[in-house]
Symmetry: D2
Subunit: 248 residues, 4 copies
Amino acid sequence: MPSPRNATAAVIGAGDFIGSAIAERFARVGYTVVAGRRTAEKLQPLVEKIERGGGRCIGRALDARKEDDITAFLEEADKIAPLEVCIFNPGANVNFPVLETTERVFRKVWEMACYAGFLTGREAARRMLAHGQGTILFTGATASLRGGKGYAAFASAKFGLRAVAQSMARELGPKNIHVAHLIIDAGVDTAFVRERIRERGGEVAVAGIKPDQLMNPASVAEAYWQLHAQTRDAWTFELDLRPYGETW
Amino acid sequence: MPSPRNATAAVIGAGDFIGSAIAERFARVGYTVVAGRRTAEKLQPLVEKIERGGGRCIGRALDARKEDDITAFLEEADKIAPLEVCIFNPGANVNFPVLETTERVFRKVWEMACYAGFLTGREAARRMLAHGQGTILFTGATASLRGGKGYAAFASAKFGLRAVAQSMARELGPKNIHVAHLIIDAGVDTAFVRERIRERGGEVAVAGIKPDQLMNPASVAEAYWQLHAQTRDAWTFELDLRPYGETW
Amino acid sequence: MPSPRNATAAVIGAGDFIGSAIAERFARVGYTVVAGRRTAEKLQPLVEKIERGGGRCIGRALDARKEDDITAFLEEADKIAPLEVCIFNPGANVNFPVLETTERVFRKVWEMACYAGFLTGREAARRMLAHGQGTILFTGATASLRGGKGYAAFASAKFGLRAVAQSMARELGPKNIHVAHLIIDAGVDTAFVRERIRERGGEVAVAGIKPDQLMNPASVAEAYWQLHAQTRDAWTFELDLRPYGETW
Amino acid sequence: MPSPRNATAAVIGAGDFIGSAIAERFARVGYTVVAGRRTAEKLQPLVEKIERGGGRCIGRALDARKEDDITAFLEEADKIAPLEVCIFNPGANVNFPVLETTERVFRKVWEMACYAGFLTGREAARRMLAHGQGTILFTGATASLRGGKGYAAFASAKFGLRAVAQSMARELGPKNIHVAHLIIDAGVDTAFVRERIRERGGEVAVAGIKPDQLMNPASVAEAYWQLHAQTRDAWTFELDLRPYGETW
């Protein structure tokens, strides 16, 4: 059972895989995790799992695209205990040819993956600056560095999020806020990724997934933890993550 | 007097400097230029200048953030003569510390510099594909590659625009549409830039601007023209532009 | 017949394709071309072709890895007429798994593709600085940006050459020397590339090469010319070139 | 006292600061460290310090630019116990205007910072492949990504080393060898860096160095350790390191 810290770690986009694994990783070392996602009920298994392990986790319905909502969410976290870590881990991966990308999709993907990240980072920083410290981590993807075919909407949002992270890191680093950006450059072992493998290659392909071919969410979460654990004389802004067998 | 071509060049963001210079460059070789900016009256000097030179230019009020408006604008251009060139040259440079960047500013800058670019590119491509050819050029900036201090909003939008350009280039190149992105990585000789130099260093600084220290809009426009003039066996996706004396 | 200029353009690595095309391009506008490659006899067809067109070209055996040789070569060029343009266009593409890359190969590829480029650039700059102007252009490749499988030697040399180009551009730009680097990011139509296509897909594949699928050396050469033609208030340091149908 | 592992960690370029700190870090968790640098006597303090702490360290004179020497060095390490970690940490930072960069300096810096890295990586990989696993870490710098003024030689070598690391990572990752590249993008607290600060700002500047303004070698070493500790389903190829207050 972790000895509790007087600090919260907010996870925005606490989905079933990476987001949950990050929440568990920080709960394991005593942080009170405040987890947000669109549907609060879906957070119940995470909350229960963390509590069974002796940790503390609060789940909240959250639409991080709404300024008032994300502000209230982080405000609540900061009242429970000083907000020390904030992780922005949106899910908004879509693929459409550019000519079939509606303005609605383009806007929505940006709101989820970039605009919400800006709001989250800004509001987290406000609270952390009051405490004189903190860590803000943004989840990036292959599409953060490359606008591939079919990724006009998604890559545009992820490029934009990376710029926000860079600007924040340059402005807030000297104020003792560690801002970092992780490039998840391969498939994490999620239901979504397995489904895509199934679509392409059928059950045979899914059955043929080799050990460590997909990233274990817990392994990804470990990288988030290590970034937070860095001493401030040697901070990383950006790192990439991919499995050993990945072609890149 | 140029011999007219049966083709239009649309310039979205036909401001007083780069946008106007691009319009003049394409008018000079016979394109009918269809120029759009927020306030139609401000286009009058450009239209008159081009017409005095024997060229053709049509000015239209345009808010490229409105899907119906940009669609109608390009539709009109394509009716005058086949749309062959489309240049997206927004002006949206702002600088605010991230904590002072309102959600309104962040959204507006994105709408002007990125979202409008997506709409423009998509709608231009639709018309060009019908003709089997075309060139779409996006204006980038230093902030397309670097999220500097105070540039969370602007860099985020410019990074996002670059991703759109990359995705479009990869999808549309094989369909004979040349998509390119120009990194304007220094000051162009505009009223805005001279004003910033004045703010920092006073009249002395403005008076001390050396020849070729700032980019002449006509020189920048030449690069747009050369990209369009490339044969399709050797297309450039991206190039940078800066004056000889610039520190980078 | 071009009206002659009192200026030389040196082409180091004046191979049968890109190098020769560049030589022809500059000869066409009146430069005396001084072309160097390992075997002087192989330059004879180029010299004759240029002379038949009314231009001037001098061919010299050159091992640009030898400091004295490249110095003498550029010295000779500069004596014929002021050295105004210098193009470094080495050929050193090899592919070996890293474990099968001998130290001899690694060193030789570096000497040809990087070290010779440093010597060439430095010696060209010395002469150009005396005249107060000049253009130095370096040929890059996909491997300038990406260390792919089998490219430890070649990519290492091309990365290194790009660094030389960057440092030179930053140091010499303010002294009115235009240094640029071109990323040739696809197959140029050369005997070497056709042979590789043949190896992979047989005669059928070669026969199936579509128009504009490979870059015409003359199209590539045009980009070199345009870089040199830029006015100094808007210089490009880097651009990429690839055919319209290329996947990247 | 660490419980010993049956594994060696080779440190090539075991200088007084980063190299020594890395050696200590791996010794602390039980690796037998095999440390190499030009002058064996200078390794004595490191060996003694590690041994006092209950660890094991062997110091060897090493010129990693000599194929036979680096091969013998790694062979010896692999005989002591299976070679599991190899760190290439050269010191070759020089700054000369390109026109004052002699061919000797250009070549020597490349041999030390790039060519030796290639030899080291290749020979380490050979031994690790026999064991089915291993980690090879390369030390990069700001100059790995940017060819700044005065850095033609150093940046060229560091760019080249990064390409080697990329090619090796792509080839060897699927064979269970983790290859990574660390960008040390700021001053580490070394005698060299303090001397440069002294040169620029005098004793006052040295006295004014703030806590955590320079990177502690031990903090840098921690990043090397964490990369090695990553599970193979989520490996990082590249990360950057700089102090919180650094301008970048």
